[in-house]
């Protein structure tokens, strides 16, 4: 028990810290930053984390505690998904019944669903893009007119207030629908989708309502001028679409199309959700391969070729749809040249080539990106903790979002007002951007205004592609600084928005700054003429430093630039950014070690007999303090003191369906012609199984017996009791298990390990830490 030597490290899969993409959700679920307030087992403190109280052992432990929210909490809200097929009698029977033809049909319908997912995701992306463009266009035109007028006749304050009010109004709408109708739609939704793909179900994450709120929320927050992007939410939207389409019905709309009934279970649904996420990435960045790799990197632990191929199909269809519809919108029907929501513009190799001596420079930039990313995450982390503790009422959250919007407008206005960086106007350019003259000479525009007075995407493009000399040093410096803090502050608000674009924008700004400064320090200034590629590398570094993704991000960026030769530098930059960032804060690296998992498992286990009294089952299920989900089924031996021998595993959801249909032994005897319960009944209840409270069981029925033999999974996965914790982890990860029964030599149940049990343990800087389960 004492040798704690072997350290197993694994990258942020499964339960353990998915990269900090959305502070609030993330923190609720896992913890990344092991600095700050440690919360040791047996050192429970009542109010403050840092306040030490001597261990009070069992007396304290037995009653529920109330503590302030901190990062070391695991919410009970989050349920695991059952990826393991329940191979009970019903299931096997159905598999036997299905012929060759019906398997064919299933295969075809899988492809059809993937195609549908792609098309719908692409259409949603188009909708968001077009509406944002229209709304933002109207806003900027109004503000620009006001500024132009007031520059001359005075009263700039009115323009300032107008701008701030417009921003706040948009953001208010976005924040209200998120805060009051569907809080789960806040943020980018990427962490939630990652959780889903890894087998953790965040409630309501793939509902139609969430999708609606998400789409409207994104439109409002981007049009409201917040430092956010619309790319992250696309991934969530794609996943929701997939989860909806694959089920062939909508529980929210109470409409059942009676199709795709076979896919109504966690395993199948998860496959489609990963296709949806891939389609979302592909629509957002125009990166079909990147989308597939995103799903691969973040999601499915069990991966087969056919699934990959289907996912790729979905991504391609999605990017094609977006392309095609946008080409119609831009009145160039059939011209398929704008593949993603964010368009980096083309990086032509002829104009922007790089040389071998620039590689070290790129690596330096990667290191800077990692540092800044770590800083961003730390700041955001503290802010998030503060928000969860003090700003948790919906009306306060809406107010906060509005304040951020107003301050964003104010700061931008002030920057433009006091900037002296004027650039000569080009005739072609002025029609596309909302260029502001400000106090520049006639025929010139304010360079600060192109950076601030624009949607973030356009600013990014301008930073990438404007010819050298478009921005002055001090303009970029101010912009980077201000935008960094704005983005940091904005991120984690109760609005739906992504962090990709702000990261890219911050990175592009300091990257360009870097590129502009190079000629001053270089021996041969003429070599470093084009700052555009440094802007690109800076953007990659910053994004890598903040989200810490590796493979998929590289491919996404390469695809977005449309230039394969940038693959090497982008990869190096992202690698350096991740290494440097992880050195400062461990976001995803979690160590696990223990000689045995004995401490982890629950024991004694709540078990059911093969033929169990209904009353017992109802009592166990309605016990809120335990809230277990899987129950081993045992055959009780004569000596009742000993735990019984294991013969199967049954899930809470199954028991509820059984209770609902009143499948009792007594009834079966009395009414022989009663219809036999089929797999369909389980599928119809999926995924919203009613809570136990809603099922009425009369006093008579409580005395009945229930035969679980037919419905339980007779072959659950088990481990002997001496297995090491790393080994258990491997099993969980490789098979996507939810429950693992621990048995002794005689196949008697000793304990039960669940995902949550494992999730609660991780090795921080101060040793093995346990997370606390909390009601929310």
């Amino acid at each position: 028990m004492a040798n704690i030597t072997k350290k197993v490290s694994w990258s942020g899969r499964g339960e353990e810290g998915t990269p900090l993409l959305n502070g609030s959700e993330e923190v609720k679920y896992t913890r990344q930053l092991s600095g700050g307030g440690m919360f040791h087992i047996g050192r429970l403190s009542t109010v403050d984390l840092d306040e030490d109280i001597t261990p009070e052992e069992d007396a304290v432990r037995s009653k529920p505690k109330e503590i302030p929210h901190n990062e070391k909490l695991l919410s009970l809200k989050y349920e695991s998904l059952d990826y393991d097929n329940i191979e009970n009698h019903l299931f096997l029977e159905e598999e036997r019944r299905m012929g060759h033809m019906s398997f064919r049909c299933l295969e075809i319908s899988r492809w059809v669903i993937c195609g549908l997912i792609g098309v719908l995701t692409g259409l949603i992306a188009c909708f968001i893009d077009i509406v944002v463009e229209k709304l933002a266009g109207v806003k900027y035109v109004v503000v620009k007119k006001s500024i132009d007028k007031n520059t001359e006749i005075g009263g700039m304050c009115i323009s300032l207030i107008l701008w701030a009010a417009l921003n706040s109004a948009f953001v208010m709408v976005g924040a209200i629908i998120v805060a009051f109708f569907e809080p789960i739609a806040a943020g980018s939704g990427i962490p939630q989708i990652k959780c889903y793909l890894n087998g953790v179900k965040v409630p309501r994450v793939v509902r139609l309502k969430t999708l609606m709120v998400k789409v409207c929320g994104v439109i409002c927050s981007v049009a409201g001028g917040l430092a956010v992007g619309k790319e992250g939410p696309m991934i969530h939207s794609g996943a929701v679409v997939a989860a909806g389409v694959s089920q062939g019905r909508s529980t929210s709309l109470k409409k059942d199309f009676k199709i795709f009934e076979y896919f109504r279970r966690d395993t199948e649904k998860r496959d489609f959700v990963s296709a949806g996420a891939a389609a979302g990435v592909s629509a957002a960045f125009g990166a079909p391969v990147g989308g597939v790799l995103f799903s691969l990197e973040e999601g499915a632990s069990f991966w087969n070729q056919l699934l990959t191929w289907r996912i790729f199909f979905a991504s391609m269809i999605s990017t094609f749809t977006l392309n095609f519809v946008l080409s119609i919108y831009h009145k160039k029907t059939g011209e398929l040249s704008s593949p993603g929501l964010i368009n980096f513009g083309s990086f032509d190799l002829k104009s922007v080539k790089y040389n071998i001596y620039e590689i070290p420079l790129f690596i330096v930039m990667g290191a800077i990106g990692g540092l800044l990313g770590a800083l961003f995450n730390v700041l955001n982390y503290w802010l998030t903790i503060f928000r969860i503790r003090y700003v948790h009422r919906p009306c306060l959250q809406v107010m906060e979002a509005m304040l951020v919007a107003a301050v964003t407008a104010t700061v931008s206005f002030a920057m433009i007002y006091f900037s002296n960086d004027c650039q000569p106007l080009e005739t072609q350019k002025s029609s596309e951007d909302y260029s502001l003259q400000g106090f520049c000479a006639d025929g010139e525009y304010s360079a600060m205004a192109t950076a601030f007075f624009n949607t973030p995407e356009r600013s990014v493009r301008s930073l990438f592609h404007s010819p050298a000399g478009t921005y002055k040093l001090e303009t970029l410096g101010c912009f980077t600084l201000v935008y960094f803090f704005l983005a940091c502050w904005t991120y984690g608000l109760t609005v739906s928005a992504g962090v990709f674009i702000p990261s890219l924008l911050i990175g592009a700004a300091w990257g360009r700054l870097f590129g502009i400064m190079l000629p001053y320090i270089a021996l041969n200034p003429s070599v470093f003429t084009d700052p555009g590629k440094y802007a690109l590398m800076g953007a990659a570094a910053q994004l890598g430093g903040i989200v810490r993704m590796t493979l998929s991000l590289t491919v996404i960026l390469v695809e977005a630039t449309g230039n394969v030769t940038y693959g090497l530098p982008i990869m190096l930059v992202l690698m350096t950014a991740k290494i440097v960032g992880d050195y400062f804060i461990e976001v995803s690296e979690v160590l696990h070690s223990s000689p045995s998992y004995r401490e982890v498992m629950s024991s004694p286990v709540t078990c059911f007999n093969r033929v169990e009294k209904v009353g017992t089952i109802v009592d166990v299920l309605s016990n809120t303090s335990t809230n277990h989900n899987g129950f081993p089924v045992i055959i009780q031996t004569a000596a009742s003191e000993e735990p019984g021998k294991l013969c199967g595993l049954i899930l809470r959801s199954q028991l509820i369906v059984l209770l609902k249909h009143k499948v009792f032994v007594e009834r079966a005897r009395s009414r022989l012609r009663q219809r036999k319960l089929q797999l369909k009944d389980f599928r119809d209840a999926y995924p919203r199984f009613p809570p136990i409270q809603s099922i009425h069981v009369s006093q008579d029925e409580r005395e009945c017996m229930m035969d679980l033999t037919e419905f339980m999974n007779p072959t659950p996965y088990t481990v002997p009791q001496d297995t090491s914790l790393p080994r258990v982890f491997k099993l969980f990860r490789a098979l996507g298990l939810r429950h693992l029964v621990v048995v002794d030599d005689d196949n008697r149940v000793i304990g039960l390990v669940t995902r949550k049990d494992l999730a609660r343990y991780h090795l921080g800087k101060h040793g093995l830490e346990e997370l606390h389960l909390a009601h929310t």
Binding site: M1, A2, I4, H40, I41, G42, L44, P55, D58, R61, S62, P64, K65, E66, I67, P68, H69, L73, L76, T151, E152, G154, G155, M156, C157, L160, I161, A164, I388, Y390, V391, R393, L396, M399, L403, A406, V407, T410, V411, F413, Y417, T427, S430, F439, C440, A441, D442, G443, R598, E599, S602, S625, G751, D757, H766, G767, L768, H772, L773, H775
Partner: protein
């Protein structure tokens, strides 16, 4: 002058002995008539033309060595001659109106006659001997001199965007363009009038300057800007903003700073009040069942801390 050309024609007859060349002078005279219509000054350059003619007599003797079906015909030579002339006209016009840019206003005539010549060469009218000048002049060698000369001028003309200032038949300037030019002239004369006193200039000429700006932005919206107008506008704007320093000054520093700092102060109040008045969110803890948990966990914790 006439003697020279006549002489050349005689020689041609002698050397080539082809009756087809009879058509040559007819052709040439027609072209010359056209030229005189569109651009009278071209006659001023006739001596040069004559010199060119001389130049090609010497080459003519070289050409005589080739079999006749491989070389160019008389009338093609004539076309070549005219092409050279028109080219020279156009280039000299462009250069003379380079600064300040008045390319479109001054040279549209020269440009259209140059264009006409080129299209005469390229048009596929077959000569009597079933050969076209297009073949012999354009596609005979890899240098393709005529084409290059033509396309270089074409690029210049294209980037000047002169077509948006000209009428459809390229015979004159658009009314809007003329309007703009007159407006610009009045602005400049106003500048001239008040040159001595800048502050007076800024107030006095503001009306005409604004009108000019409006005209310009209207033209910009219609897409009828050419380099002449753009350049004129640029010069005027630079005079206005830089030389006479009439741009708007920041005069509202105090109110802007006040409003901005008020806005920036709002979140501070918001967070502070929340921090002080809002109650913290508490969470209930659940304690799992554990086998021998206390002992072993304390053990682990001791190990690590």
């Amino acid at each position: 002058m006439g003697g020279f050309t006549l002489c050349g024609r005689m020689l041609c007859w002698l050397l080539w002995g082809s009756p087809l060349a009879l058509i040559g002078p007819l052709n040439l005279s027609v072209l010359a008539a056209e030229a005189s219509q569109t651009k009278p000054p071209s006659f001023l350059f006739l001596p040069e033309k004559a010199l060119d003619g001389l130049g090609y007599f010497s080459s003519l003797s070289l050409a005589a060595k080739f079999p006749e079906d491989l070389e160019i015909t008389e009338d093609c030579l004539k076309l070549l001659l005219v092409f050279g002339q028109r080219y020279v006209d156009l280039v000299s016009c462009l250069v003379s109106s380079a600064r300040p840019v008045e390319v479109c206003q001054n040279c549209y005539g020269a440009y259209s006659s140059f264009n006409e010549t080129y299209s005469n060469i390229t048009s596929d009218t077959m000569g009597p001997k079933n050969d076209s000048c297009q073949e012999s002049l354009m596609h005979s060698d890899r240098l393709m001199l005529l084409y290059r000369l033509y396309s270089s001028l074409q690029t210049i003309w294209g980037s000047a965007e002169c077509t948006s200032c000209l009428t459809k038949d390229h015979k004159g300037l658009l009314n809007s363009t003329l309007n703009f030019i007159s407006s610009q002239n009045s602005t400049l004369s106003c500048f001239e009038k008040y040159k001595g006193n800048h502050s007076e200039l800024c107030t006095e000429c503001k009306v005409t300057y604004k009108r000019l700006n409006e005209l310009y932005s209207n033209l910009e919206k219609n897409g009828s800007l050419c380099i002449d107008i753009e350049d004129a506008m640029n010069v005027t704007r630079r005079l206005w903003s830089k030389n006479f320093d009439c741009t708007v000054k920041r005069e509202e520093l105090v109110p802007v700073i006040a409003v901005s700092s008020f806005m920036l102060f709002l979140p501070v109040i918001f967070y502070l009040s929340n921090f002080l008045h809002s109650e913290q969110k508490k969470r209930k803890l659940i304690h799992p069942k554990r086998a021998k948990s206390n002992h072993s966990l304390m053990n682990i914790q001791d190990k690590f801390s």
